[in-house]
């Protein structure tokens, strides 16, 4: 059975965008700050819609924000 892990660059991208706060990103995307926190920490994989909204906020392609990393057990 294989497990998948989705890494993300949100923390770095926030830093590069004038140290955008989690709250500011959450407001932009339309989710709660706790959800942004959970996504950053890898505890929650967002829906495609939210993933695209995050990428769009940073004006980056989706694959520059999220990386799929298959890993087998």
């Amino acid at each position: 059975m294989s497990k998948c892990k989705i890494n993300n660059q949100i923390r770095r991208l926030r830093f590069e965008h004038n140290e955008m706060t989690q709250q500011a990103l959450a407001t932009e995307v339309g989710v709660t700050r706790q959800t942004i926190l959970a996504i950053e920490a890898g505890r929650y994989s967002p829906s495609l819609e939210v993933a695209f909204k995050i990428a769009n906020t940073f004006k980056q392609p989706l694959e520059a924000v999220f990386q799929y990393e298959p890993e087998s057990t």
Binding site: G30, V31, T32, R33, Q34, T35, A38, A41, G42, R43, Y44, P46, S47, V50
Partner: protein, 149 residues
């Protein structure tokens, strides 16, 4: 801490308090609560009354403290947490209701001949099931929100 997380923590604490209160009431009533419908009804009514009062007061207090967030819609992660919690609590509720119905049927059928069967049992079973269902609902949501599993 977000408004909904505060609500969940408070709900969990209320449920734990209600478990303690229920156990205390049952211990105070003794065997009478287990085999006498009126006594069992008194216990159930007092627990439900305490639950309603605690819920209303605590939820008003939290809403007053964080009045802005109460108007925000749940986002997708919070909706998933609600669905997971509801799945667990509905499973427990359904199991309890079936067990209570079986117990009720047995009591109606054989209650006259067997002293250990009482209509108080399904009543108390439903109360315990209600509390456990709500506790599991709260616990599962908190686990999902904090651990993401």
């Amino acid at each position: 801490m977000a408004y909904r997380e505060q609500v969940l923590w408070v709900d969990g604490l209320i449920m734990l308090g209600l478990i303690g209160y229920t156990v205390k009431q049952l211990l105070l009533a003794g065997d009478a609560a287990l085999f006498n419908v009126e006594q069992a009804y008194d216990v159930v009514a007092s627990v439900l009354f305490m639950a309603v009062v605690a819920y209303v007061l605590c939820h008003i207090a939290i809403a007053v403290v964080s009045n802005k967030e109460t108007e925000d819609a749940r986002d997708e992660r919070e909706q998933q947490a609600v669905q997971l919690g509801a799945y667990w609590s509905s499973t427990i509720s359904q199991t309890t209701i079936v067990l209570a119905l079986v117990q009720f049927g047995l009591t109606v059928q054989f209650g006259g001949a067997r002293e250990e069967l009482s209509l108080a049992h399904p009543l108390l079973l439903l109360l315990i099931g209600l509390i456990l269902a709500e506790l599991s609902n709260t616990g599962r949501q908190l686990w999902y929100l904090y651990r993401g599993v």
